[in-house]
């Protein structure tokens, strides 16, 4: 396990740019873009837990029950809190990690549902549904593309933050 960790660490070190100073503005832009997207998405879902629970249920992963309703209640707040963290600079690393993981889950869920609809005979480019993301119904391929971009943005932000150096005073709370 220790050997594996050393290998992972060496790969990260290899990719670490020598000077991150020039990237600060880029990181700031990345943070604000991600925050704007997730604040909008969260506001669309906060206060509508029942409707959101139905949208989550459509993925066929969680059925009616406490887990479904808790997810519908907490997920929009998680998105909002992470977005506010990105805006304020507090808990930056943690929020970037959560958004990366969330986007990975969204991509898997949308892929699963798309595959199910395609299995019923609909071609990929014509698969159209409301993913419950807060942006209304859209073509699945577009949603997958959007989520992939968001995943790369959040993952990229986390990667850059981890390799920028030590945690800043505002971030290390």
């Amino acid at each position: 396990m220790k050997g594996l960790w050393t290998k992972v660490e060496s790969v990260f070190k290899q990719w670490r740019p020598k000077n991150f100073g020039c990237c600060n503005q880029g990181l700031l832009l990345l943070r604000f873009l991600l925050a704007a997207v997730f604040i909008y998405a969260a506001i669309q879902k906060i206060g509508k837990p029942l409707a959101f629970s139905d949208e989550i249920r459509m993925y066929g992963v969680v059925d009616y029950g406490p887990l479904l309703y808790l997810t519908a209640i907490i997920l929009p707040w998680l998105e909002l809190v992470c977005s506010l963290c990105l805006l304020t600079g507090m808990y930056l690393h943690g929020s970037a990690l959560i958004l990366t993981v969330l986007n990975a889950i969204f991509i898997m869920a949308i892929t699963k549902r798309t595959a199910e609809i395609m299995h019923a005979g609909t071609p990929l480019l014509q698969v159209y549904f409301d993913c419950g993301c807060g942006f209304g119904a859209a073509y699945a391929w577009k949603k997958l593309l959007e989520n992939a971009v968001l995943f790369l943005m959040a993952g990229g932000l986390l990667f850059c933050l981890l390799h920028r150096g030590s945690f800043s005073s505002t971030d290390n709370r």
């Binding site: 206060g47 009616y64 707040w77 809190v81 929020s95």
Partner: protein, 159 residues
């Protein structure tokens, strides 16, 4: 590097807890909040069996004389309700069910409403009623707010 990862995980856990408390806290104060631990054991087909209708369609079915259930609290019902409605508060369903069931028939459509378009109680009540064998359920999405906004008559006396 390893310390960084530990800090990242710690931060993520803190954010998760903040979201949990905010979500549950706001949900408990929101009028259209839901109780995640008191849910109707709905079957997979329930959601598709329950039809959501708008104001115009609601007026038509009400004119046809179908039973109307008000899923709001008894206090809200007493302050005003759709004429002919029977109070069956979702969050106190057990206390009211015996009084209400004699008015309902499993073969007849039943209209259910709550306070407004985003409220959850009407749909939750519909899911619970569905489990009792009432399959023809209509949820008036606009709820009492849309009814009042349209300037339609209301009744004030309690059941």
């Amino acid at each position: 590097m390893k310390d960084h990862f530990k800090k990242v995980i710690r931060q993520a856990v803190v954010i998760l807890f903040i979201s949990l408390f905010l979500g549950m806290g706001v949900n408990s104060f929101f009028r259209n909040g839901i109780d995640p631990f008191r849910y109707p054991a709905a079957s997979a087909t329930t959601a598709t069996e329950i039809r959501k209708i708008g104001l115009e369609q609601a007026q038509q079915v009400i004119a046809g004389g179908i039973p109307i259930l008000d899923a709001r609290s008894q206090e809200d019902f007493s302050e005003g309700h759709i004429p002919g409605a029977i109070s069956l508060p979702y969050y106190d369903m057990g206390s009211y069910l015996d009084r209400v069931l004699p008015f309902l028939s499993t073969n007849q459509p039943i209209l259910i409403y709550c306070s407004e378009a985003s409220c959850a109680d009407a749909e939750f009540l519909a899911r619970s009623i569905f489990q009792l064998g009432y399959a023809k359920l209509l949820v008036f999405k606009g709820g009492f707010k849309a009814w009042v906004a349209a300037g339609l008559t209301i009744e004030r006396e309690a059941l």
